[in-house]
């Protein structure tokens, strides 16, 4: 990997984030019905509005507001939460780590399960195993999270079984066992669709690669099938799978909002819904920006992993 490749990818990420800050700022600040109106409601008096606008700095030109907002963010100051009277960074910080623990658990689960079953389906193409995996994949993709979540709750957390708690959160550093028992259902919900999606991608990539000339050449060299699959087919079929996983992170970030609400997981999703209900603008801005950053960075990481798997992109 050349430093210039990395520098170029990084500058692309920064460009994307710049556009995102602009969009986030524009949507919540420039559009009609400014923050002051939203906060005080439609029955507020002119004086009240003016006073709050001054307090929030809304009477300044928009570009001054934008630049001071950016300057503050760069110093880690996202402002005060309008509802909780706490610094936004504090409110969002805790929620971020809670969400991250859920997302990472889901992502690891997906990767560990989806890639092997995708490969298995490709190698056993046309057999019962392949058919079963494909069928499960279709079913998995067809079920939205709230349906999956409800089914999991009824069968695994309901009064009949009670294997797992129906909701709530225990931090891993308090009780790891407690964290695990609480994370299984939400992470399972998030994993199901993604596993289905990624397994299907891996299967079709693997089939493409297995049908390629260089795999035929490897077989005609007298290499054992295991060597052919492991050394010749896998690296070539995983690079596209990594690209799909990184795109699915966008989906995961959306899904987490629904799943956290269902399982009462105190993460960014719940906080975002709360902030939206209360028109807590600084919190909404911070969360949106954070999610966009996570997505952009995960794409950067996937680019690096792909470059490691495929020598053709290394020196570009």
């Amino acid at each position: 990997m050349s430093p210039s490749y990395l520098a170029r990818r990084l500058s692309a990420v920064l460009l994307v984030l710049l556009i995102v800050t602009f969009a986030v700022f524009a949507i919540t600040t420039i559009l009609p019905g400014n923050a002051a109106v939203m906060i005080l409601g439609e029955y507020a008096t002119e004086d009240q509005l003016l006073a709050l606008e001054q307090r929030l700095g809304l009477d300044r030109p928009w570009y001054v507001q934008y630049l001071s907002w950016i300057a503050n963010i760069l110093q880690g100051d996202f402002g005060m939460s309008l509802r909780l009277s706490l610094p936004v960074s504090e409110v969002v910080g805790d929620a971020f780590w809670n969400s991250a623990s859920l997302a990472v658990t889901a992502l690891v689960t997906v990767t560990v399960i989806a890639i092997p079953i995708g490969i298995l389906a490709a190698l056993k193409r046309g057999t019962i195993a392949d058919l079963g995996i494909s069928l499960l994949a279709y079913v998995g993709t067809a079920f939205p999270e709230f349906v999956t979540a409800t089914l999991l709750l009824v069968f695994l957390a309901g009064p009949a079984t009670g294997f797992f708690p129906a909701g709530g959160f225990v931090a891993p550093n308090e009780s790891f066992a407690g964290f695990v028992s609480h994370v299984v259902l939400p992470a399972g919900t998030l994993s199901l669709i993604l596993t289905a999606h990624i397994a299907r991608q891996v299967r079709s990539e693997m089939l493409d690669v297995l049908g390629s000339d260089y795999i035929r050449a490897a077989r005609l060299k007298g290499l054992r099938e295991r060597t052919v699959v492991r050394r010749h087919a896998l690296p070539n079929s995983l690079a596209p799978a990594v690209a799909v996983i990184s795109l699915d992170i966008g989906y995961l970030l959306g899904g987490i909002i629904v799943v956290e609400e269902i399982f009462a997981w105190p993460g960014l999703g719940r906080l975002l819904i709360l902030a939206l209900e209360n028109r807590d603008l600084p919190v909404i801005q911070a969360i949106t920006l954070l999610l966009a950053t996570v997505y952009a960075l995960s794409n950067l990481i996937s680019d690096i992993v792909i470059a490691a798997l495929d020598p053709r992109v290394r020196y570009e």
């Binding site: 490749y5 170029r8 500058s11 692309a12 460009l15 390629s212 000339d213 260089y214 035929r216 050449a217 490897a218 077989r219 005609l220 060299k221 007298g222 290499l223 054992r224 060597t227 050394r231 010749h232 690296p235 070539n236 798997l309 495929d310 020598p311 053709r312 570009e316």
Partner: protein, 568 residues
């Protein structure tokens, strides 16, 4: 006099038993439409010493035979009868582990396209080494050392460096040397060469052929050389077997088959091989009339990209598809443009039909065009193009009749009521039945589709037709008939023609003048009569020298390279 790539003929006592013997072998494939018989009662022996050339067109079964020998058959393959013996051992009776121990060690293969047969994610050195580790039990370190020695033997100048490269960091010729080194790695009894030069450029192909000859002489390996190219096989093989529709129609020594073919199919195949000495073009038009179309200082820079893309994607050097090309086409003339891949032939074609932005000046019919935007409907009607792949250039969802009527309607050439009649006439002109109008492209063969594409170009009543590698994807016999058809249409309509190709023998058969391109530049332009003149550019001469001139019926095939010139 160039060296013929033919080893000394072994005396009969040295070759007591064939290395490969195939007896009464029959192979079919089960398809939804029923059983397709790919090979019918094949009898074939390959002896140590003389190389056997297996010649056939696409679909003849030559590749199926290679897979059968390698025991690499798809699940729907059915072997009805026969034996395939390697040094007396029946390969059909071998178990899977036994076959794995034979592949790569006792029989190996060199494939058509080195850019697809090498794994893009593995270093070239490791792709050689893994065979040695697998079959000779070497450690990876020993295998890499041995691999380097093997690469050195294939003429790669810095083998240690090449060992560490990935396929995308090597040229086509280098990659094919790696594939060949791998095939020779375990000193196999038999090597199957499956069109090993078809995907390579002319000069590279020649070098690979020479390497093949040298390694064969050095190692004495038995070789089965599969090709569609009779001219090429006549140069490197001693024995030839001609396969057609799954049947070996004729076999014998090269000399006997090329001098006195017995079977009609062999005769037809031989007649279809383009031979520079048999001109098929009408006499050249009067040169004094001036140019019909000319380009002056035309350049195409593919490196131009918008600023944002330049920022986000890897920096690109200026990549010129064409560089200050100046060239004219005379009315009624056939101008051949030759060059290797990437030389700018197709870029120039795209400029001429207004598909590519360019710098410079284009003159046609008294008008000058200095940018692509100036090219208008009148120009587009007058300058038509036929592309290489008719599959890609004919809309699969339109009937042939619709395809042919498009230019007629677009340019208002025929009253609406007469369009159907004109389409029928066009089809007949390209020797297709009028009822083809109701068919879809997928119901036609490759040659028929290319005829439709030609008919579409001529439907616009153009004054210039550009043929961009139009015969490259066709079989030899189909290629010959398409070329003759084109010449006939050209003769009848007086339309000028630019014939772009990498097939030097073909272009020498039909062009009045030949332009040679290299690295985007025009390096040579000459009348066909001056092809062997000393005034030719060095690059032109090396191209001409690299192309095997097919056998000459009058003389020994091995020594019939008169006129090919010398390798520089």
């Amino acid at each position: 006099m160039e060296r013929a790539i033919v080893p000394p003929v072994p005396d009969a006592a040295q070759a007591p038993a064939p290395v490969l013997e195939i007896r009464d072998y029959t192979l079919g494939y089960n398809t939804p439409a029923g059983r397709f018989e790919a090979l019918k009662s094949i009898d074939l022996q390959v002896w140590r010493g003389p190389t056997l050339g297996l010649v056939g067109e696409s679909g003849s079964g030559k590749t199926s035979l290679a897979w059968a020998i390698m025991r690499y058959l798809p699940e729907n393959a059915v072997e009805n009868s026969g034996t395939i013996e390697l040094s007396g051992e029946n390969l059909r009776a071998k178990s899977v582990p036994e076959i794995l121990a034979i592949r790569g060690r006792r029989i190996s293969m060199v494939f058509q396209d080195p850019s697809t047969s090498l794994n893009p994610a593995i270093r070239l050195g490791d792709q050689i080494a893994e065979v040695l580790v697998q079959h000779r039990g070497l450690t990876l370190k020993e295998a890499r050392g041995e691999g380097e020695a093997l690469l050195a033997r294939t003429g790669i100048t810095r083998p240690a460096d090449m060992m560490l490269r990935y396929p995308h960091e090597a040229s086509g010729g280098e990659k094919q040397r790696v594939v060949i080194a791998t095939a020779f790695a375990c000193n196999p009894e038999l090597i199957i060469f499956d069109e090993p030069t078809t995907a390579l450029d002319i000069i590279t192909a020649r070098q690979i052929l020479e390497l093949f000859g040298r390694l064969r002489d050095e190692t004495g390996v038995t070789a089965l050389y599969i090709s569609h190219d009779l001219g090429l096989v006549s140069r490197i093989a001693q024995d030839v077997a001609v396969i057609h529709d799954g049947v070996i129609v004729e076999r014998g020594s090269c000399a006997s088959i090329f001098k006195a073919p017995r079977q009609p199919y062999t005769k037809a195949l031989l007649a279809a091989v383009p031979r520079p000495d048999l001109r098929i073009a009408p006499p050249a038009p009067d040169a004094s009339a001036g140019d019909l179309l000319s380009v002056e200082d035309v350049s195409v820079n593919y490196g131009n990209a918008p600023a944002l893309l330049r920022f986000l994607s890897p920096p690109r050097a200026d990549a010129y598809g064409a560089r200050s090309v100046s060239l004219g086409v005379r009315p009624g003339e056939i101008l051949g443009i030759v060059g290797e891949s990437g030389s700018g032939k197709s870029t120039l074609a795209k400029v001429l039909v207004g598909l590519q932005t360019f710098e410079g000046r284009l003159s046609f019919g008294g008008r000058a065009f200095t940018s692509r935007r100036m090219i208008d409907r009148d120009y587009r009607r007058a300058v038509q193009i036929v592309f290489q792949h008719p599959d890609a250039s004919l809309n699969p969802r339109q009937r042939i009749g619709t395809i042919l009527s498009r230019p007629l309607r677009l340019y208002d050439l025929v009253p609406p009521a007469d369009i159907a009649a004109r389409v029928r006439a066009l089809l007949e002109e390209v020797l297709l039945d009028a009822d083809f109008a109701a068919r879809y492209p997928h119901q036609l063969s490759g040659g028929e589709k290319q005829r439709v594409a030609i008919a579409r170009a001529f439907a616009a009543e153009p004054s210039l037709v550009i043929c961009d590698e139009i015969t490259s994807s066709l079989d030899v016999s189909v290629q010959a008939s398409v070329a003759r058809l084109l010449i006939e249409l050209q003769r009848r309509t007086g339309t000028a023609c630019i014939f772009i190709t990498h097939d030097l023998n073909l272009v020498r058969q039909l062009a009045h003048r030949i332009a040679v391109m290299q690295h985007g530049k025009l390096v040579d332009l000459f009348d066909i009569a001056d092809v062997t003149s000393d005034a030719r550019d060095a690059y032109t001469r090396s191209l001409l020298a690299a192309v095997p001139i097919p056998f000459d019926a009058e003389t020994d095939p091995v020594t019939s390279e008169a006129g090919a010139g010398n390798m520089p």
